[in-house]
């Protein structure tokens, strides 16, 4: 890791946010306009901090910062290319769920601080949802790290380069991972916090001005981080026949992000009771079973 890595990650977050915005426009069926999106993002960042009448102004004003810090920390864990592996730590596959876990307090602070009833409901619903879905993320990351013998995401990518991608070796892990990270990234059909059409503006209802722009930026960085980590952990990252490393990673990340956004537009939002039932009765036992199965397949095939 060189000294320029944090700067590179920030630049990647900025460019990636605009790219995700263009992907969203594309999935919606409209023509993407990157220059327009960049101009709008820069204009949003120049707006003043508004001071609406909030219930708890400390929490209200701290929430966008915490959301952005969580999103950037998650983005820093993703390995993009052999030469640019983000902030490489020995426990990267555990720090990624830890960074994502701080989205929960951030959304709660946004909802509770804002104070309008729908915002508070959105915040509490998100806590209820994430209690169930935070565990499968960490457990599936452990299951995927089991054959590798290391928690470094780059090591997991390297193993997939020599053997099959994890999507083929552990399809059950992928099936549990994708809904869980979509729930964290506030994506439909799991977006109980910002349920458009059901909860007004949801947990982020009271934000305008600079903080709304920061929240929009943080949500797009979250989607980028989540899609990138899915591509790294399950689709063998930068390994591929003809294209250079970083281009393969970009293609895979874009494909995963497009699929997630498309699923959101196609599937109706599930009710919170059903989502919680799925989380606690299916996802958590399934994640434990995934760890056991991963251990078994490691002993059979990888050792």
């Amino acid at each position: 890791m060189s000294d320029l890595t944090p700067v590179a990650i920030l630049a990647l977050a900025a460019v990636g946010a605009v790219a995700v915005a263009c992907l969203e426009t594309l999935v919606a069926g409209l023509r993407p306009a990157p220059i327009g999106a960049t101009r709008q993002a820069l204009a949003g960042l120049r707006e003043p901090i508004s001071h609406p009448r909030t219930y708890d102004s400390w929490l209200f004003h701290l929430a966008p910062g915490l959301l952005l810090v969580a999103a950037l920390s998650a983005l820093a864990m993703v390995p993009w290319a052999p030469g640019f592996r983000g902030i490489e730590l020995e426990t990267g596959a555990i720090l990624f769920p830890a960074a994502l876990a701080y989205v929960t307090p951030a959304v709660f602070m946004a909802g509770w601080g804002g104070g309008s009833p729908l915002a508070v409901i959105g915040g509490f619903r998100f806590i209820a949802l994430m209690l169930g879905y935070a565990m499968p993320i960490a457990m599936v990351a452990t299951a995927v790290a089991a054959p590798v013998g290391s928690l470094r995401p780059a090591a997991i990518v390297d193993l997939q380069g020599t053997t099959v991608p994890m999507a083929l070796a552990q399809p059950y892990s992928l099936a549990l991972w994708v809904p869980a990270v979509m729930a964290v990234a506030l994506l439909p059909p799991f977006d109980v916090a910002t349920a458009r059409g059901e909860l007004g503006g949801g947990a982020f209802e009271r934000y305008t001005g600079l903080e709304a722009a920061l929240i929009a930026l943080a949500r797009r960085v979250l989607l980028l981080a989540v899609a990138g980590m899915t591509a790294a952990l399950f689709l063998s990252g930068w390994h591929g026949p003809w294209l250079p490393d970083w281009l393969w990673m970009a293609v895979k990340t874009a494909a995963v992000a497009t699929l997630m956004l498309y699923a959101g537009r196609r599937m109706p939002r599930l009710e919170i009771e059903r989502l919680l039932t799925l989380a606690w009765k299916v996802a958590v036992p399934g994640a434990i079973a995934a760890i056991v199965l991963a251990g078994g397949t490691t002993l059979l095939f990888y050792v």
């Binding site: 708890d56 426990t91 720090l95 830890a98 929960t104 307090p105 709660f108 602070m109 509770w112 994430m130």
Partner: protein, 178 residues
């Protein structure tokens, strides 16, 4: 981590941890109390990272966020004034408990400072994740098994304690959701 980075992380995080921990019991807003506790324990996780225990620090950061939002949940459920609008003072025996806390803290601090710790100037070489894994699955497997069983018993027992009507349940009236 270099000495300068370690000191830059350790001192602010340590002092901020103590300040937020104290404010947990001073503030009257329950959501703030829960989130201040999250801040205190997350800063403690940062302290672990600064003290070269990478895995333990990351675990602390991971677990504390989920635990503390659960705590905020429960506080808003069970506190008489969750928003803190009335500024209630929820302390009994304020002087005696504060006195006991100060006495105990001072006693421990004095013991820590005055003891003649053996002077070891070894470079920080904390066990990495692989070593901890081998330890947990090898030598400490017995304790790990007991911890696992304790978790299972706590899960079942906690639900039994919290359930309406205890073990045998209470027949809900028609239409009501228990």
């Amino acid at each position: 981590m270099s000495d300068l980075t370690t000191a830059l992380v350790f001192w602010p995080a340590g002092v901020l941890m103590l300040v937020t921990a104290l404010y947990v019991f001073i503030t009257s807003s329950m959501a703030r109390a829960g989130l201040l506790l999250l801040a205190a324990l997350a800063l403690e996780g940062l302290l672990f990272l600064a003290l070269a225990s990478e895995f333990l620090g990351v675990l602390m950061l991971l677990m504390m966020s989920a635990e503390m939002v659960i705590m905020v949940f429960f506080m808003v459920m069970f506190m008489p004034d969750p928003g803190g609008l009335m500024g209630m003072d929820m302390v009994h025996d304020k002087r005696r408990s504060a006195g006991a806390a100060v006495v105990v803290g001072l006693l421990l601090a004095v013991v820590a400072v005055l003891t003649d710790w053996p002077a070891q100037v070894l470079p920080p070489d904390a066990p990495d994740v692989r070593a901890i894994g081998f330890e947990v699955m090898g030598r400490s497997m017995f304790s790990f098994l007991f911890a696992g069983m304790a978790i299972l018993f706590t899960m079942v027992g906690g639900i039994m304690v919290a359930k309406q009507g205890g073990r045998y349940g209470v027949q809900a009236p028609a239409g009501e959701v228990r």
